[in-house]
Structures are given as structure tokens and as C-alpha cells.
Amino acid sequence: MPEWLKLMVESLPPLLYAGLVFTVPLTLLSFACGLSLGFVTALVRLYGPRTLADGFRFYVWLIRGTPLLVQLFLIFYGLPKAGIVFDPLPAAVIGFSLNVGAYTSEVIRAALLAVPRGQWEAAYSIGQTWAQAMRRTILPQASRVAVPPLANTFISLIKDTSLAAVLTVPEIFQAAQRIASVTYEPLILYTETALIYLLFSSVLSAGQQKLEARFGQHLHLSQETK
């Protein structure tokens, strides 16, 4: 076995461990929190009282207009000066969630607006309440529109979690840095790291296609009934 391949094989377990124990949970947790935040933000901006909607618009403006790395530094290194101290992992989850929330809120807002007004009226006309119409009539249709751009955000997030390395979270990229610093083989280690990220995001892309198919079953007219 050539020397470079041997190094790759030997460093695979620690890298995968870092991925499965830190990168993946960090991604899933941040996306879940971020998506919930994004949903609430979209709802308030579309249907909430004016002042509250303005507050959420300010939040989206602030997060989208500043670099993620700076936000993470502010939360982890800056806030302790104000007496607010987070452990590395919670700091990362908060930072990523706020970020995902801001971006997904716009996706969700657009997807909700993409459902024709007549669908609301049809739902009301059969006696559905606002909440029932939202849950049973509007959201399923909006989901079909929202899945591709949300998957975009998700895949960006997997890669962005490498920034958590600077908050001392021992995820994949930090593990790679650690090994590279003792083996002096950055080319091999970072290539391997890139491949692992590629693997993770490929798995997710496959998941996206499944979701799209599920929300869009009615669009596949080839499966005509009798």
C-alpha cells in the first residue's frame, strides 16, 4: 500500500468519528432549530402584527448582512465580555440556527405566497379554520416549492459547520487539522476531508429527491389512474 493511501486509511476512523459525533448532530440540530425559527419568522412576517413583523425583518436583515464567521466569534468570544458564556457546542448551534432561520424564513415566505389565493378560499369555503387551511391545504403545496431551496440551505449548513472548528468544536475539519499538524500531510488530509463532506452532502441530495417525490406525487401525471 502506498504511503499516502495508508495515511488516508489510518486517519479515516478519527475523521468519520468526528463527523458522526459532531458534524452530523450539529447539522441536524441546527437545521431543526433554524427551520422552526424560519417558519415562525415567515408566519409572523406574513400574518403577524406590524411591529412584531418589523422585529423579525430586522433579525433577517442583521443575520443576512453579516458574515457567519463573525457571528460565531461574537457569540462565543464576544458575549462572555457581557457576562453571557456558552460552551463551544451550544454556541455553534445558536449561531448556525440563527443563520439558517434567517435564510429559510425567506424560502418559506416565498413558498407560502406561491400557493394561489383561491386555495385559501376553497379551504375556507368548506369550513376549514385558518389553522386547518394552513396545515392541510397550504403547507403541503408550499412544501413542494420549498424543498429544493431548503435542501440548498441544508447542504450549505453541513459545509458551514466546519466553521465550528474555530469555536474549538472537535468536528471533522478540526480533526483533520489536528492530524495534519502532526503528520505534515495537509494535501492528503484535506483532500480526504473534502471527500467526506462530499459523501455527506450526496446522501442528503438523495434524501431531497425522495422528499420532492413525496410532496409532488400529484404532479407525476404519468401515474394516471384507470
Binding site: P116, G118, Q119, E121, A122, A123, Y124, S125, I126, G127, Q128, T129, Q132, R136, T137, P140, Q141, R144, F215, Q217, H218, L219, L221, E224, T225, K226
Partner: protein, 256 residues
Amino acid sequence: MIQLSHIDKHFGSQHVLKDVSLQVAPGQVTALIGPSGSGKSTLLRCINLLETPSAGQITLGDASLQFGHGHAQAGRQDIHRLRLQTGMVFQNFQLFPHRTALQNVMEGLLVVKKWPRAQAEAHARELLHQVGMAHKADAWPGTLSGGQQQRVAIARALAQSPGLLLCDEPTSALDPELASEVVAVLRDLAANKMTMLIATHDLRLAATLADTVVFLEDGRIVEQGSSRQLFLQPQNPRTASYVSTLKEGLPEAWQA
């Protein structure tokens, strides 16, 4: 009893319904005719409260609501109660595209009436049969023709046994052949004494289906009467000129 009294509706500075009073006889078909923008659709939408009237009173069966100054804003419960007295058929069908024909008809029974699934399904299948769509129960709306979609939409509107069926231009988005299959369903309902209020541009439909015809222009009722009287002996010159297009028919040269 279905009674509208002194209904007014403003959109901003626009006054789209002016003191409209109308009584719909139970078991009868009433057609609303009039030029585009005369307020036909708005009037229908006020009855099931997709629009809130600016003033006036709506009575449907034993539910009644008053609007305007001096009356408390209608509560959610009141609106819900009044709305369930009506079924609505839209010009563009507005079936739920992510639900099959059967699921579209079942939706209100399951979610609003909270019927058990088996019972809702049985009733929905019966209604689909009634509109001649039983064979397409499991089809997605996107795979159906416009006429078929509208028939499913009528079944959906009838699911919760409303006392009044509101049809907003039910055939306007359809070619003559597809329209005729929808008209056949409406005729069938009329024969079974379903109370209907139909806004339409199709004067032939109004003349052949309706017992009473109401001519609306510029938000006001200009004239109303039996369909025969309104089309053959209109009292108001404006009505006469509007309904004259119906009698013109084929080119003169063709009439042997």
C-alpha cells in the same frame, strides 16, 4: 329562508354593492346576471363571507348576521356557522391539487365535521357517483379535464349538505362541450330541489336553468323576476339591451 337585506360593500373608495336585497326561494334556482364588474361575484362571496359586507344582514336558515355600524364585528364562530350553510363552486374549480378527487370531497367531512373515515368515504363516493365521477375517485385533479374537475368541485361543495349552493361562473372557464356536462349536473341538482344561486355570463344557462333571474349592474339590482318574464318582457331598458344578445342567436342569413 335565504334573505339578504340592504347589503353594502366597499373596497376602499369603491362602492361595489349598493343596498342589495334579495330573497332566494328554497328549492329554486336563482341566476345572477350582469356585466363584468357589476358585483355578481362579490355578492356571492359576501354570502359565504369570503368577503365581509360593509353593511346589511344575511339570513341563511336559522343563522343570521348583521354587519355595519352599531353591530359587533362578526365572530369567528358566527362566520363558521353561516359558512357551513353554503357550498361554493368557483370559476376555476380550486380543487386541492395534492388530494385525489375522493379526498377532495372527503376533506370537509373529515376535518370540519369530524366524521369517521369510512363514513366520510362512503358519502363522498356517493356524491362522486351523483356527479358522474365515481370512476375517477382516485385520480389527481391535474389529470382531469376542466369539466370533470368542476363536477368534483360540485361534489365537494355538496359534501356537508349545505342549504344553499353558490356557483360563481361555474362554466366560464370551460369550452361548450365541457360546460354542458357541468350544466347537466346542475340541472340534475335543480330537479332534486337544491337551492342554488348562480352568477353567470351565460344567458342561455340562466334562461334554461333558473326560476328567477336577477339583473345586477354597477352594484345595484336593476330588475328581477321570473326567468321567462325577465328575458321576454324586461321592464327596464337597460335589462332589455343586456338580454337582447340571447335572442340574436344565429346570423339572419342562415334563417331559412
